[in-house]
């Protein structure tokens, strides 16, 4: 069971990160009130999962809250527009442009081109060490979706020959 870190408090995270989270949500929703509501949704999710959080650094907390805010905004967009695949990727999916994939030489550029929903899952699972279940709970998606995005993200990176993992 994760030990509660005495330094962690939701209100501190809110004051520190709310502007960024709002900016992320607004970029997706293009509506001030809905973006604020998405920030609230994100913190509801955080509050529900606070016992699973193991934030080790400022960078991790920023990445985590950005990912949660993005997913909360996408959920709202999904409900608003009744879409099944509402993922407004900031960056183009590599598989749509196999020629770009072949031309991409820089790993950083490759990762940069990953759609944010793949990148978020990879970041939380592979870098920050959350389990699939924890990641699903934090992002408000199902474990199946986490597995799919993880698999897809790794597949995209593997095509560049930079990811080589056995499990």
């Amino acid at each position: 069971m994760q030990t509660i870190q005495p330094m962690f408090s939701l209100d501190a995270l809110y004051r520190e990160h709310r502007q960024r989270m709002y900016a992320v949500a607004h970029a997706i929703l293009h509506n001030e009130q809905e973006a604020e509501d998405a920030v609230h949704d994100a913190f509801v999710r955080l509050a529900e999962n606070r016992h699973r959080l193991h934030i080790r650094s400022e960078e991790e907390s920023r990445a985590l809250l950005t990912a949660i805010a993005r997913n909360a905004a996408i959920d709202r967009l999904r409900r608003r527009d009744n879409r099944c695949e509402p993922l407004p990727a900031v960056l183009p999916d590599l598989t749509d442009h196999p020629a770009d994939l072949a031309e991409a030489n820089d790993l950083l550029a490759c990762v940069r081109r990953l759609p944010p929903h793949y990148r978020d899952v990879l970041l939380l699972v592979s870098v920050q060490g959350y389990s699939r279940r924890e990641t699903a709970s934090l992002l408000g998606i199902t474990e199946t979706t986490v597995r799919k995005r993880l698999s897809r993200g790794r597949e995209l990176l593997q095509k560049r020959g930079r990811f080589d993992e056995t499990e």
Binding site: T3, I4, P6, M7, S9, L10, D11, A12, Y14, R15, R18, Q19, R20, Y22, A23, V24, H26, E32, Q33, A35, E36, D37, V39, H40, F43, V44, A47, E59, R62, A63, T66, L107, L108, C110, V111, R112, L114, P116, R119, L122, L123, S126, V127, L157, R162, F163, D164, E165, T166
Partner: protein
């Protein structure tokens, strides 16, 4: 098969880039409805606009002063009877209320007791300082006992870390910069819960370094003394 972790580093780097991008977005003024909604969720008061920055900096300065003093504290003999005492207005951090000084005959040292009344509505804690004073300069030196009054808006204390006997409020965020401190309690500590949470220790069970008093009027805690130890100090060794 050898694992190539370059992509992990790249992932972190891209995440950091993205964070930086969002950090430069124009600041948004949150609506009152949102702020009230968040206050209900977080069970804390969120100052509007930039008032928090001023309050937070003042509270942070107060807490930092006492934190440094706590970490480099020394022994102070309280057994000698006071020779002289007096009162005067003093300053502890932001907005103090009073200072009382007491001089001890055997050591010639002076103890200062200072009170700073906080405002729980905006997140500044009450700070009560007691400790030796530099008789030559009249300035407060390193205190042996420093007290924080933690005003926590909540109904109950919901979690106790049994390993360190530190009380960490779970559903109730600690206000102001007192959030950085855990309160170390001895075993079998008693809690008094009122309009705000108060941490009351049974005087018969506490160690010399920890003293508490509570004064409760009309169902509301008005003052109490609690010895606060930073979590890092708890982890380093036996509780004081």
């Amino acid at each position: 098969m050898k694992r190539n972790n370059d992509w992990l580093d790249a992932l972190q780097a891209v995440a950091a880039e993205e964070n930086e991008q969002w950090d430069t977005a124009p600041a948004h003024t949150f609506s009152d409805a949102h702020t009230e909604q968040m206050e209900r969720l977080l069970q804390t008061r969120i100052p509007r606009k930039n008032r928090w920055l001023t309050v937070g900096l003042s509270a942070a300065a107060c807490v930092a002063v006492v934190a440094v003093a706590l970490m480099s504290g020394g022994l102070f003999d309280r057994s000698a009877p006071p020779v002289t005492d007096g009162t005067e207005d003093g300053v502890v951090g932001g907005t103090p209320s009073s200072t009382t000084s007491t001089t001890f005959a055997d050591t010639g040292s002076t103890e200062i007791k200072q009170e700073q009344m906080g405002n729980p509505d905006i997140g500044t804690p009450d700070i009560y300082y007691e400790g030796p004073s530099d008789a030559a300069t009249g300035n407060s030196s390193i205190p042996l006992y420093s007290y924080f009054c933690l005003h926590l808006k909540a109904a109950t204390v919901s979690e106790v870390n049994e390993t360190y006997m530190a009380v960490v409020p779970d559903e109730m965020p600690v206000q102001g910069n007192a959030k950085k401190f855990c309160v170390l309690l001895p075993q079998d500590a008693d809690y008094a819960v009122g309009d705000r949470i108060t941490l009351v220790l049974d005087p018969s069970k506490i160690s010399q370094q920890t003293i508490t008093e509570t004064n409760k009027e009309n169902g509301t805690v008005t003052a109490y003394y609690v010895h606060v130890i930073e979590p890092v100090e708890i982890l380093k060794g036996e509780p004081q």
